[in-house]
Amino acid sequence: AEPQRGGVVDVATIGEPPTLDPMASTADLVGIVSQHVFETLFTFGKDWQVVPLLAEAMPEITEGGRVYTIRLRQGVTFHDGSGMDSADVLASLKRWETVASRGQQAAKNIASIEAPDPATIRITLKEPYAPLLSLLAFNNAAAVILPAEDMAVPMEKPVGTGPYMLKERKPDQYIQLVRFDGYKPREDAANGYGGARHQYLDEIRFVPVPDPNTRVEGAVAGQFAYADSIPVESAGRLTGGKTEALTLKPFGWPVFVMNTKEGLLSDVKKRRAVLTALNPEDMLIAGFGSTDFYAVDGALYPDGYAWHNTQGVDAYGLGDAQKAAAALQEAGYDGATPLRILTSRQYEFHYKMAEVAAEYLKAAGFQVQLDVVDWATLTQRRQDPKLWDIFISHSPFLPEPSLIGVMQDSSPGWWQSEAKTKALAAFNAESDPAKRAELFGAVQKVFYDEVPAFKVGDFNALAAKSPKLQGFEPAPWPYFWNAWLEK
């Protein structure tokens, strides 16, 4: 059908975003909402390749990958009516370097940022650093472009260049975005997050509905055009004509992060025993019910991603209690120290996988202690290495592997080793995509060798969508430009 202009959609989200400042948070929810309001210089295309957004085109990379010269699009205006130029970009990137965690990560490699003319920005690196463009493109702790005069921290008013702008925010009630009439879409065809962004919808309202069942019920009752993050158990309930199931396949991976710094699992042998003991298939069944929603897969990126490889994965998926017990004994486990698994019920599958894992670990001889806390407590406790041995989380498949949590030395788990540093350094310094894919195989091998985390498998995300909502492309961070409502 032909796209139609007009209409309002209600989107049920998993909660209230802590902030609308996309730089200030790495929470997915912040990215989902704010990507409609703010734009970055680059973004990701359909196949997760970096494509220009506010940048005119892909940067010119010179001096052996150390200097990035970026041409900006002309005639882009902010929601407050002012035009965007390199001064805004410069100020925004500076803010990003200090405020955003990913900006800080990038800043370590950046020597300088300059604006040689109003339409150009130049970034000079200390060393070649391949992940830079991905970092600039990412909508999470995002390098969004703000008007130079709006640099306050915390952000005072959300003014961006995006296709929609904030009309009203009632925390816990809704975030109302309306079409920004001064928006000038790109002229190239829509391509994932990139390309032309059409503003068919008049309004997008993000409604926080933290309770998954309420999201389901609302969707079934036809209240929401789109409901995010539906528990897979409820797939069968998405019937009745007012809503339909929408699966994003594959979405990401559940992960058991291990504490390599202190406690029981600081010993790599015991981490290996955990890896040996766990049966991912049973965990995935418990978490996701049917193979429609999961795949048993040890590779850090599933087939179809450029980063896919099978290095080291033969250590995955054994679920062998005896072997694990033997390994555990050899590692000198006292049989009494509890293995503390920190998890929450914010995401039901975390908890369910924890339950199953606990059974397998017990079979291998571990004393298991399940600490089920709320998500807020979890995010706090995992900062303290004294409090846990494993915590459970998940992540979408990120376009750039170096953005993955465990790859950061400082992220909870605190995985650091010579082998890791070496493998990652080589990977980051390379700019040729094909070579990088190969180098990532080495990284994955170290991952399976040192077991800083356990990748449970791949899982698909389930969402509920009204049949009337058309032109919507499933995405890990759903976006609603280019979508329209059938009347």
Partner: protein, 295 residues
């Protein structure tokens, strides 16, 4: 004269505390008898159910998940393939234990507070204020905050609910203590030179046992409901611990697919709470109709 007689007589009738007579009087009321029978059944199920059941309450069996009630699994299985009836029994142990423990905690706290406030004039004003202040917090709200503060565990839920319900007892105990303190038999004990702790224990506390018991059954009921509510909100007992509350929370997602997961624990709560209230009501009517006011 008449007033004295008629005020004391119903209480006196109840005081035939040879236990037996009271039990008989209780059983004479059909509703109370029904309540007691239900409680007894639940208790039996909780104590012996897991021992008799062929299923383990915790062992996972992912092949048989979400099975509807059948001959093998009388009440069906849950999302981990565990037998609901068996889990219901185990959960019953915990739910009942939680309820009972809350009663014990709130009784220890509330009775102490109430006795101190009621018996010692000097402590009365500040303690009465404290009790008032504690009463001002709605139970679930306060419990949520406390559990959030202490962390979700069985012990902490018990502690939180114990604190939440303590003022209810404290208020009743204080009010009755204020009255009993002035009664001639307490005065007689003082005139005899009986020590204060002994007066408090033998003369005051002993005579408060009935209202405390009545209030305790209601607290028991409220605590079970509150625990379920907290678990439902995800701020109660750790979800890996089976209680009726956590079972409901767990079953909620399968409302459509496997309604039995949520239905049976819900039914258990309703039955247990109803039974407790029936018994409490009966006790109250029997022991002191005037208590009805304080609920």
């Amino acid at each position: 004269m008449t007033a004295v007689a008629s005020a004391t007589l119903p209480a006196a009738a109840a005081e035939k505390s040879g236990g037996n007579t009271m039990l008989r009087a209780l059983l004479a009321r059909k509703a109370v008898a029904a309540g007691l029978v239900v409680l007894l059944l639940i208790l039996l199920l909780a104590v012996f159910g897991p021992l008799l059941s062929p299923w383990s309450p915790s062992k996972l069996s992912l092949v048989s998940r979400l099975k509807p009630p059948s001959a093998a699994h009388l009440l069906g299985t849950d999302d981990f393939g565990r037998d609901i009836l068996t889990r219901l029994a185990v959960a019953g142990r915990l739910s009942l234990t939680v309820g009972f423990a809350v009663v014990v905690v709130s009784a220890l706290l509330g009775v102490t507070l109430g006795l101190l406030a009621g018996f010692f004039r000097r402590l009365d004003a500040p303690l009465a204020r404290l009790i008032d202040a504690m009463m001002a917090f709605p139970d679930i709200l306060l419990a949520i905050s406390l559990v959030a503060a202490l962390g979700p565990s069985v012990v902490n839920v018990v502690a939180a609910l114990g604190i939440v319900y303590a003022p209810r007892l404290a208020r009743i105990v204080r009010a009755s203590t204020l009255v009993i303190r002035e009664l001639p038999y307490v005065e007689a004990a003082r005139a005899l030179g009986v020590s204060t702790p002994r007066i408090i224990l033998r003369h005051v506390l002993r005579n408060l046992l009935s209202p405390i018991m009545v209030q305790s059954t209601f607290i028991f009921a409220s605590a079970m409901l509150a625990e379920a509510g907290l678990s439902f909100l995800g701020v109660g007992v750790s979800p890996s611990v089976p209680t009726w509350g956590t079972m409901i929370a767990q079953g909620r997602q399968y409302l459509d697919q496997a309604p039995w997961i949520m239905f049976f624990p819900g039914l258990s709560i309703v039955l247990a709470v109803l039974a407790l209230q029936l018994v409490g009501d009966g006790l109250r009517d029997l022991l002191d109709p005037r208590l009805a006011r304080d609920l």
